[in-house]
Symmetry: C2
């Protein structure tokens, strides 16, 4: 399938309603707004998604992991630029399936495709590689940075964590679950839910925020490092789904299991900080955005991240998922 036909048939329709995208028939797009928040994420087959994952789900994951970054910033998404490097043996139906996934999530999140580049591997077996650069409009309350947290702030987490990692293990047949649990956990891995409403509601309230892509522990460390503080996580407070809790209870050591779940990535929840004086406002923001939010720890002077049980005893953090190359 030629590049022109691919763009004309599959991608150009995805730019409808974005005049500055010039129907994807130009070298560049024109963005006519007053300021932008921009983020870029790359996903690679075999690294960030499974080589056999259906391409509509992969497309939607690509959109969602990028939207999750905008959610952390409190920004409202507008559109994106797409880069695709297809494997040598890609078929038209596969690219169409990919396009249908883009379309579905474009409608869900009201974003449009503005441009990009599509090319093909020459090396046999080289993996599908996808890049997206998303842009959004900052909230009037400003942009929530990673670096704004202060010692004394509370740490909060949305939703539940560890599910995507368990879902990945289930999909790779490394762990066994009931059919129902497997479906829900795999769903968390395949289709993260970017916390856009919550992120927008937190703008001006949260002192710092990050989306949990590397795992709660690693991302708490990122936030703490950027803000020049240390993060202290309460293992008992880390929110778990019923399936994840069942899994943890079935392990030899419950605390170690919690540490494992807090080391799993790909959940795309929001981890954020706010001073204790804002507790009520955070509750209101969570309620307004219909998102579960719990307090999971606090920030203090120093550096690094610690995890402790209900009695304040430190739980060992394994290095897995901590300072790895992936983001």
């Amino acid at each position: 399938m030629s590049e022109f036909k691919t763009i004309h048939d599959i991608f150009a329709p995805l730019s409808a309603g974005a005049p500055g995208a010039f129907n994807l028939a130009d070298d560049a797009a024109l963005l006519d707004q007053s300021a932008f928040v921009v983020t870029k994420d790359i996903i690679v087959a075999g690294v960030h998604f499974l080589p056999k994952d259906p391409l509509d789900l992969v497309a939607r994951k690509l959109i969602r992991v990028n939207l999750s970054d905008l959610a952390a910033k409190g920004a409202k998404p507008v559109g994106y630029f797409l880069g695709c490097v297809w494997p040598t043996n890609i078929k038209r139906e596969q690219i169409e399936l990919f396009g249908s996934g883009l379309r579905e999530d474009q409608e869900t999140y009201r974003v449009a495709l503005y441009g990009g580049d599509t090319t093909m591997h020459i090396a046999k077996g080289a993996p599908l590689t996808l890049s997206a650069t998303f842009f959004g409009i900052p909230s009037r309350q400003g942009l929530t940075k990673r670096s704004g947290a202060a010692a004394g702030d509370d740490l909060y987490l949305s939703g539940t964590v560890g599910d995507a990692g368990l879902g990945l293990a289930a999909l790779k047949k490394e762990m066994k679950f009931t059919t129902v649990d497997k479906a829900s956990l795999a769903g968390r891995y395949h289709l993260p839910e970017p916390r856009l409403s919550l992120g927008a509601a937190l703008a001006g309230l949260a002192t710092a925020a990050i989306d949990v892509s590397d795992g709660v522990i690693a991302d708490a460390a990122h936030l703490a490092r950027a803000s020049g503080v240390s993060a202290n996580l309460d293992a008992a407070a880390i929110p778990l789904s019923r399936a994840a809790r069942d899994w943890a209870l079935a392990q030899d050591e419950f605390d170690a299991a919690i540490a494992t779940l807090a080391g799993f990535g790909d959940d795309y929840e929001l981890l954020f900080s706010a001073p204790p004086s804002m507790r009520r406002s955070i509750g209101v923001a969570a309620k307004a955005s219909r998102t579960e939010v719990v307090r999971v720890g606090s920030l203090s002077r120093g550096e690094g991240v610690s995890l402790s049980d209900g009695q304040g005893t430190a739980i060992a953090i394994t290095s897995a998922g901590f300072d790895h190359f992936r983001k």
Copy 2:
């Protein structure tokens, strides 16, 4: 080498002077301007550059192919977002070399790194894949589109074409040249020169423009298609370097050799259109930007692209480089 160290040591210094980049320590960047022209290009080892090309040259090529798109639009570059997927066996020195190439061209073109993503292949032998999303400020005279050309317009070309293709053939040892010619042709392949000054001078004068990445014939077809006209190229007018002319003269059929050179990509010259009434202004713009520009044909009603010799006889266009997947 960890992702954090890579970003902190090598990439974050490249964001100096770009306050909205937050020292690359955040999930997103903030762009605070009134309007943007945005473009995205991906380059893959073995497809768009040679696997053995030094990574500083690869970095500079990545910057330049993207700047070339902004040049075609008449936009002034500001900064970029970078995406890297490294091979499994990448060494720190290699990434440093890549960073030094970025720095060199950032200084040349006065652009800054605003953000991005860096990750690593898991599959052994999977090729280095690089993506950049560049943004610039549109000219006050507006953005030069691909689609603005009209029947009757002249077609112009900057610099010389075919050199990069010959340079690639020389590097792959498919063709032989003198040492001096090989160096100059290979230089055209490794380090294209984005025609930013010319592009800026053409804003408001050119009715349409495109950068020659797929080859003169293919890109004339792209411009003609976007504008709803046909392009007629005069083979005798196509500007050739001394080395390319020598090569063409040494071939069995000179006309066929010209068609081959006009089918080669990667020259990153500007192909643009303007009405005959603007010939003097185009000459002034070329002079002001110190760029050689020649008239290479015209646009007429209809569709497609034709190449003819000095007597108006059609020269066969091979399909090579015409409707391929690469861009």
